[in-house]
């Protein structure tokens, strides 16, 4: 038989907590343990609290992303250490330490890689500006390519020639833009200190690090998406199962009612025929 009331003479809550964490006066602890040996209520409660502690142990704070953790402590003064921590902790502060030209180079590289991956196609022709992304070329391009493979010397002449339109109205703009970019790049290179050229290796290293980071981010992003999809599928499946269960129940109920009505009708008919 289990006692439903605890008869511990002291402050039971305090004693429970002290026993739970094994922290307190040893005499009191052993006294409470002796009490617990005969008190099912206290044993149950301490077991439950241990379960809560086990669950609490699963709560881990996220690691700092822009860490104050794991650096080499090669700093001149503690004040600068702390200040450096502050600078490393805020978002984008690392970017502020990178020269502008290196940032531009990294950004261009990133855009180039992204455009290459996305197979981006920007066109500006008589029909206006068009931007296309994706892995497949349009059907018209494929047809032209296929035709080129079969008979490369054949020139396809449209049945009705379109009105004469400048095939590349963007060429002049593009040339002007190229010139402008070249002149700007020369100007910035001339303005940059000579040490810049000496630090090409450093630039490459930084860019590689950026690319690596980007790849890692994409991979983890993918993992996140997969996890989300799995969770969504699981919850949707459960919701569907509940819905199906309810629908089946409703169908069964309707069926039962119908059967009952049929039976009543038959009984009525039977009785009527008996009377006749």
């Amino acid at each position: 038989m289990t006692a439903s009331i605890c008869s511990y003479p002291g402050d039971r809550d305090e004693a429970l907590i002290a026993a739970l964490y094994d922290d307190g006066d040893p005499v009191k602890l052993s006294a409470f343990e002796a009490h617990m040996a005969g008190c099912q209520l206290c044993r149950d409660e301490i077991d439950t609290l241990r379960g809560v502690r086990a669950q609490l142990s699963r709560w881990a704070p996220p690691e700092p992303t822009f860490g104050i953790i794991g650096r080499q402590p090669q700093v001149d003064s503690p004040e600068s250490t702390v200040v450096n921590h502050q600078s490393t902790m805020s978002h984008g502060s690392a970017w502020r330490q990178v020269p502008v030209w290196a940032q531009v180079a990294a950004a261009l590289l990133f855009l180039g890689v992204s455009a290459g991956i996305a197979n981006i196609d920007v066109r500006y022709d008589a029909s206006g500006l068009s931007v296309r992304t994706g892995w497949l070329t349009p059907a018209s391009d494929r047809r032209v390519a296929a035709a080129g493979q079969v008979a490369p010397n054949v020139t396809v002449v449209p049945a009705a020639a379109p009105a004469p339109v400048d095939p590349a109205p963007w060429r002049a703009d593009l040339v002007a833009l190229e010139q402008q970019m070249k002149s700007e790049m020369h100007a910035s290179l001339a303005a940059a200190p000579r040490a810049v050229s000496a630090s090409d290796a450093d630039l490459i290293r930084r860019v590689r690090a950026l690319v690596d980071e980007s790849e890692k981010r994409q991979q983890t992003e993918l993992a996140l998406r997969v996890a989300e999809v799995l969770r969504d599928v699981s919850s949707q499946r459960q919701a569907d199962l509940v819905k199906i269960d309810r629908s089946l129940g409703a169908v069964q109920n309707n069926l039962g009612v119908e059967v009952m009505k049929q039976r009543q009708s038959l009984n009525l008919l039977y009785r009527a025929s008996q009377k006749q």
């Binding site: 402050d11 809550d13 305090e14 429970l16 907590i17 002290a18 739970l20 964490y21 922290d23 307190g24 439950t48 609290l49 379960g51 809560v52 502690r53 669950q55 609490l56 142990s57 699963r58 709560w59 881990a60 704070p61 996220p62 690691e63 700092p64 992303t65 822009f66 104050i68 953790i69 650096r71 402590p73 700093v75 001149d76 003064s77 503690p78 004040e79 250490t81 702390v82 921590h85 502050q86 902790m89 981010r217 983890t220 992003e221 993992a223 996140l224 997969v226 996890a227 799995l230 969770r231």
Partner: protein, 190 residues
């Protein structure tokens, strides 16, 4: 050779910058964890951690060793957390950081851990976080210090400026609320 905190503090006061660096490296993770579990925001927890060491460095010449260095740091960090909460004028909302959290979990996960296990672990962590937000600040602080930092009842009482029995009562009440909330959430997720 591994120096004790007290030795490093003495050397820091004597002007040895490297010693203070060692102290930062030794204690930044626990202080960050304390701040995160108390205020529940990754960014702000980092700021609190940062500010704790900044204040500690400035106040170091006045540190006479009347308490353990770690207790002294905890006190600074808890005061900063309290200031933060007062400034925000609200109960801390534990917000699991978007993306970063799962990414780190994924990175830290054992190779044998499946995505389902990862999600389950993540969900449980979120449940605990959510349940912790329901606790009053005093109870939450007591649980965090005891559960995650292994402080004794007496150390917590000293930090919280309250009697020993109050600490135990806060722990008991806090754990009771958590038990109820976690059970409720577990039922809801079934």
């Amino acid at each position: 050779m591994t120096w004790t905190d007290e030795e490093l503090v003495a050397k820091s006061i004597g002007g040895d910058a490297e010693s203070f660096n060692q102290l930062v490296l030794r204690w930044e993770r626990p202080i960050y964890a304390l701040a995160y579990r108390t205020i529940g925001r990754e960014e702000d927890a980092r700021d609190v951690c940062q500010e704790t060491f900044l204040r500690a460095f400035r106040a170091l010449p006045g540190f006479r060793g009347q308490a353990k260095f770690s207790s002294w740091l905890y006190r600074i960090a808890l005061n900063l957390c309290r200031d933060w909460m007062r400034r925000e004028r609200r109960t801390p909302v534990v917000q699991p950081p978007e993306d970063v959290d799962l990414m780190e979990l994924a990175a830290a996960a054992e190779p044998s851990e499946s995505i389902e296990e990862l999600v389950a672990r993540k969900d449980l962590s979120r449940l605990v976080e959510r349940a912790m937000t329901l606790l009053p600040e005093e109870q939450r602080t007591a649980i965090v210090l005891k559960e995650y930092h292994g402080l004794t009842f007496q150390e917590i009482a000293d930090l919280a400026n309250c009697p020993l029995s109050t600490v135990k009562t806060r722990l008991y009440q806090g754990l009771t609320v958590l038990r109820r909330e976690l059970a409720k959430n577990a039922k809801a997720t079934l």
